[in-house]
């Protein structure tokens, strides 16, 4: 399974320290910076917290661990902790005099150390630097893995399509042989539906795995999402569904119209599947603040049940789906398209519906 990407918002931190004041102090500092903080007073308790976080699929992004605790030293526990929290940045907390302990911890694979008493600014900088590094590392790994999977998938999709083509051809011939036997014809129709689903799946996998080449033109993003909405008219048939748009300033940017249309289609499709009537999808488009090059910021919000924390975290993972139908590639493809444009797509915590934020360079 793909490793989950670290997100900038609401990272999960575990503080392991036996000193109550240190725990409280760190919690305050980190919560000010919007980290979600859990604490443990010893290594064993820390391991428990890590296991629980893995089980609830809400792994820690950062471990801040005191060097010396009543139930052991960090260098003894570090291999176990690292193995349990594979995704986490690992920082050892220590006193000024304990240079040997720091060296031992770094040798065991800690990412960095912090000295007590804490300098809040240094803590912030260290965390930001290590998290950025981790994100870059994970991105590179993800890219490598995708390239390998891509080659395999392309080959598999090609071969499968040939076999699918033959089975479709044979089914068409069978249909002619069957004549007018209603039960047999019904079975033929059911096989055809399954074949069509398989075909769609192969197309999506191929689409996801194939290299993405953008053909950029200066286009109005509003035009793109409106076109995407129009293309979903069959999905909306018989339903009370409306798009509520607010556009502030200029929604034009350098984009591949077709690809960005796919992004909006995938978001709209999910919203239509998740929401009960009346479906209202709000789009808020504005110039990205602080972007001198004139980036565009688009919020897409629906009035459905919204996403659970787990769904929020995994929504861009390939093959992750909560729908009965679908490959779970829609949002993964959307993310790939937006990132290839040099932009970013994220899911926002604000509810009650699902909210996606897309930021594109101008």
């Amino acid at each position: 399974m793909p490793k989950r990407p670290l997100r900038s918002e609401s990272l999960h931190v575990l503080v392991v320290d036996d000193d109550e004041d240190t725990r409280a102090n760190l919690r305050d500092l980190l919560e000010l910076d919007h980290y979600r903080v859990q604490t443990a007073a010893g290594f064993a308790k820390g391991m428990e917290a890590i296991r629980a976080s893995t089980e609830s699929a809400d792994e820690f992004d950062v471990l801040l661990v005191d060097r010396k605790l009543p139930d052991g030293n960090v260098e003894d526990w570090l291999p176990r902790l690292k193995q349990a929290a594979t995704q986490a940045v690992f920082i050892v907390i220590t006193a000024y005099a304990d240079i040997e302990g720091v060296i031992a911890a770094l040798q065991e694979g800690a990412d960095d150390y912090l000295l007590k008493p804490f300098n809040p600014e240094l803590l912030r900088k260290t965390l930001n630097r290590l998290i950025a590094l981790k994100q870059a590392e994970q991105k590179a790994q993800q890219a490598q893995r995708l390239a390998a999977i891509g080659q395999m998938m392309t080959g598999l999709a090609h071969e499968s399509r040939n076999a699918l083509q033959r089975s479709m051809a044979c089914l068409e011939m069978l249909e002619m042989e069957v004549g007018d036997k209603p039960e047999a014809l019904d079975l033929v129709r059911r096989v055809r539906r399954a074949q069509e689903q398989l075909h769609q799946l192969l197309e999506e996998v191929r689409n996801y795995a194939a290299p993405l080449h953008l053909e950029r033109t200066t286009s109005s993003l509003q035009g793109v999402w409106q076109e995407a909405w129009d293309q979903l008219s069959s999905h909306r048939q018989g339903r009370d569904a409306a798009l509520v748009e607010r556009v502030e300033g200029d929604s034009r940017c350098q984009i591949d119209r077709f690809r960005m249309g796919q992004v909006f289609r995938n978001i709209f499709e999910n919203a239509l599947a998740a929401c009960h009537d009346p479906v209202r999808i709000e789009i808020d488009c504005s110039m990205a603040s602080g972007d001198a090059q004139g980036g565009v910021r688009v919020l897409v919000r629906d009035n459905g049940p919204g996403l659970t924390p787990e769904q929020r975290r995994r929504v861009f993972e390939p093959f992750y789906t909560t729908k009965a139908k679908g490959t779970g590639l829609g949002m993964a493809i959307a993310q790939r398209i937006v990132e290839t444009h040099g932009g970013a797509i994220s899911v926002e915590v604000e509810g009650p519906g699902a909210t996606f934020l897309i930021v594109l360079p101008g």
Binding site: Q165, M176, R206
Partner: protein
Amino acid sequence: MSKSLRISIADDELDMRDYLARILPRLGHEVVSAAENGRQLVADSQRLSPDLVITDVRMPELDGLSAIREIRRDRPVPAIIISAQLDIELLQEPQTGPTLVLIKPISRQNLQEVIAGLMARDGTA
């Protein structure tokens, strides 16, 4: 209904040859030969002078595109190429006769439309 055509087909898959041989007559056309590779298709075409050639791309001995090129040295026979997505790059080269490409998976309806389109373009419909 467009006019009845004499068609030579080629595909290395028995299922697909069988399919084309059964479907095309229902669309009002006659399959005059069914080849398993490009080499056979060239021989069939030279011998039978079909109105249209329908061929797969990837086949043993000689691929479909090379076969069409060879056949068209004699005359610019219209051709329908049934292709997998992966062959798209191969299809970029200029064609020396009326050519249309169908991407797999194909259906009877695809075939009907493409034959009508191609023959209308060729001016023989």
